[in-house]
């Protein structure tokens, strides 16, 4: 009998706390799969956010530190400057990176800090109950945009990859999704590439991952996956935004 699928050894024997249909579980798994395949489990230090991803240390069999809301890139900077030999990455949501932590993310990117940010974009504040995020689409209904996001009152959805692409310190930026098997494979490749760029010392790398949040989107899991393809990617086009191949 051939084993085609098993629990990565870097994934603890614990139940994810994520809601049904949530993308975080897939992304968590992809990260440890990549670390395992690259043999980096003993080198990795993860900075967990405030938000749905905050309990990563319950799932990852690697060193993890929790960051205050939005400060992941600054904490990762501190760690990396002490331990340049380690693989240091932060895991941040859209509220974390694109709202409260914009300055920390932006300037870590601009300094070309040799770290990786795994940026989970699900268009809402998930953990606090589905409020508007900086990435919430126009007309999207959330608990704080009851008639849909109105750009006059609440601004526009922020495209982090495109914003960061303008910064000279960034080496690799790609937007992927985890709403179907082919997309998940691409997401895994992107994570592996970002980690490799860090190992090669190329500077700041970020993988933005469009991730379903059926509970807060008030959709079934399948509809949520379809909604990413049909609606979300129009605002957040998939693909490589920046790839500086020379060091």
């Amino acid at each position: 009998m051939k084993t085609v699928y098993e629990r990565p050894t870097l994934l603890k024997e614990a139940y994810f706390h994520y809601c049904p249909g949530c993308g975080h579980g897939i992304i968590n798994r992809l990260i440890v799969e990549v670390l395992e395949e690259m043999g980096l489990g003993g080198d990795a230090i993860c900075v967990a956010p405030a938000g749905c991803g905050m309990l990563l240390y319950n799932y990852f069999e690697i060193d993890v530190i929790e960051s205050a809301h939005g400060r992941g890139a600054a904490v990762a900077t501190g760690i990396k400057r002490v331990r340049p030999e380690n693989l240091v990455f932060s895991y941040q949501g859209d509220g974390d990176l694109a709202a409260i932590g914009t300055a920390e993310g932006f300037h870590a990117a601009n300094r070309g800090e040799n770290i990786t940010v795994i940026f989970v974009n699900n268009g809402v504040y998930g953990m606090t109950g589905g409020q508007m995020a900086p990435t919430t689409l126009l007309d999207q209904v959330t608990t704080t945009t009851l008639r849909g996001r109105d750009s006059c009152a609440a601004g526009h959805p922020v495209r982090i990859c495109e914003v960061f692409a303008a910064l000279d310190g960034t080496a690799y930026l790609e937007r992927v999704a985890v709403n179907k098997p082919a997309a998940v494979k691409k997401a895994k490749k992107a994570i592996a590439k970002a980690f490799q760029y860090q190992l090669d010392g190329r500077g700041f790398s970020l993988v933005e991952i469009l991730s379903p949040c059926p509970v807060n989107w008030k959709m079934g899991p399948l509809d949520a996956c379809r909604w990413i393809d049909e609606v979300m990617v129009k605002q957040f086009p998939l693909g490589v935004t920046k790839d500086v191949t020379c060091s």
Partner: protein, 362 residues
């Protein structure tokens, strides 16, 4: 060998000599010379200097560096220290060592860039959210920085807790002769808690999220016991002419320098006045005050604020002595002669009060 240095620059030099390898700072007056000194000194020594995008980023870089095992420091002044409070709370909750310097300026709000002691409450009451304390060291001369800074790094490591050095604009800006020869780098502590990657050991985590209220309570009591140990072991203060003093002036930092000048004048006039200078503002030298209250009936608190430490003096004395107060908030720096006049008035008033009591008793 004596060098003429500003307090800010001496702070930086003392930090490097104490083993500080990572400094993260953001410009704010009156502490800019420290950030600039670190840029130069750490650059020359192959150490890490980052001018961060904000005070918030700086304190979180400190947190990351401490979690990775480095002796890390940041510095700022009033408004910037307010921004750092979230990070300081996390450092305390995570039990991570760090040294934070506040070169205090006049406040509240934007205030001004003169010397002030307006951040006493913020420094001694934890400062950020949650239930925690930090040791607060208040040096009163540039030379004293060579003792206070290594002590700060040592105590931060010893207790795994952030520590504040509370100076002010005058200490930071003024130049005094300073001799670093007596400064010894504090020994390194074993740091099994730091994150190095789970290579030859199980994975570790550093976090302060504790959903279970009972476990959170347990964590808080654990921190509390640590703070109790600090209160028992780390109280530091200086006394000056207190043996026969009928009135003890209580002042710290540059306020104590001014008070010393005032006391010298008053002694020349024959007034029995002495000085108690807390070096640790927290833990506060309450026992020393109580001990002095056995012989001195009057305590005169002088602060460059509208009155903050005076609360701690009253708490320590518990009504067991008379407490007087004189403060100059807003960045005003009074001259010793001004203070000596006020102290003298209170001294003579206390004498007539005591003789009136004696008359009544007869």
């Amino acid at each position: 060998m004596n060098r003429l240095m500003s307090g800010n620059a001496a702070l930086g030099e003392a930090a490097v000599l104490s083993g500080c390898t990572h400094y993260f700072g953001y410009p704010i007056t009156p502490q800019n010379e420290l950030t600039e000194y670190m840029a130069k000194r750490m650059g020359e020594s192959g150490l890490c200097f980052i001018q961060s995008e904000s005070e918030i980023a700086a304190i979180n870089m400190v947190l990351g560096a401490a979690a990775a095992g480095a002796r890390a420091m940041t510095s700022s002044s009033g408004p910037g220290i307010s921004l750092k409070q979230e990070g300081i709370s996390y450092l305390a909750a995570d039990e991570l060592p760090a040294v934070i310097v506040n070169v205090v300026r006049g406040g509240p709000g934007m205030g001004n860039i003169s010397a002030s002691q307006s951040d006493y409450f913020q420094a001694t009451r934890g400062g950020g959210h949650g239930d925690y304390k930090t040791i607060v060291l208040a040096p009163a001369s540039v030379q004293e920085l060579t003792e206070v800074v290594p002590l700060a790094f040592d105590l931060a490591d010893k207790y795994r807790n952030p520590l504040l050095i509370l100076g002010d604009g005058m200490l930071g800006q003024m130049m005094e002769p300073v001799d670093f020869d007596g400064l010894t780098r504090p020994a390194d502590y074993d740091k099994p808690y730091i994150l190095t990657g789970a290579k030859d050991r199980p994975a570790q985590t550093i976090h302060s999220l504790i959903f279970d209220t009972k476990l959170q309570e347990e964590h808080n009591w654990k921190l509390f016991r640590k703070f109790q140990l600090m209160e028992q072991n780390e109280v530091r203060y200086e006394t000056y002419l207190t043996e026969d003093a009928e009135m003890v002036v209580v002042a710290y930092g540059m306020g104590a320098r001014i008070a010393k000048g005032a006391i010298r004048r008053l002694r020349e006039e024959g007034l029995k006045v002495g000085l108690l200078r807390p070096v640790t503002l927290w833990p506060f030298p309450a026992k020393a005050l109580q001990e002095m209250a056995k012989t001195a009936r009057d305590f005169f608190v002088f602060e460059m604020s509208a009155g903050q430490m005076v609360d701690d003096v009253k708490l320590a004395l518990g009504g067991g002595a008379h407490v007087h107060f004189y403060g100059r908030p807003g960045g005003v720096i009074p001259m010793p002669v001004e203070l000596s006049r006020i102290v003298a008035r209170h001294y003579y008033q206390a004498q007539s009060r005591d003789s009136a009591v004696k008359r009544k008793k007869r």
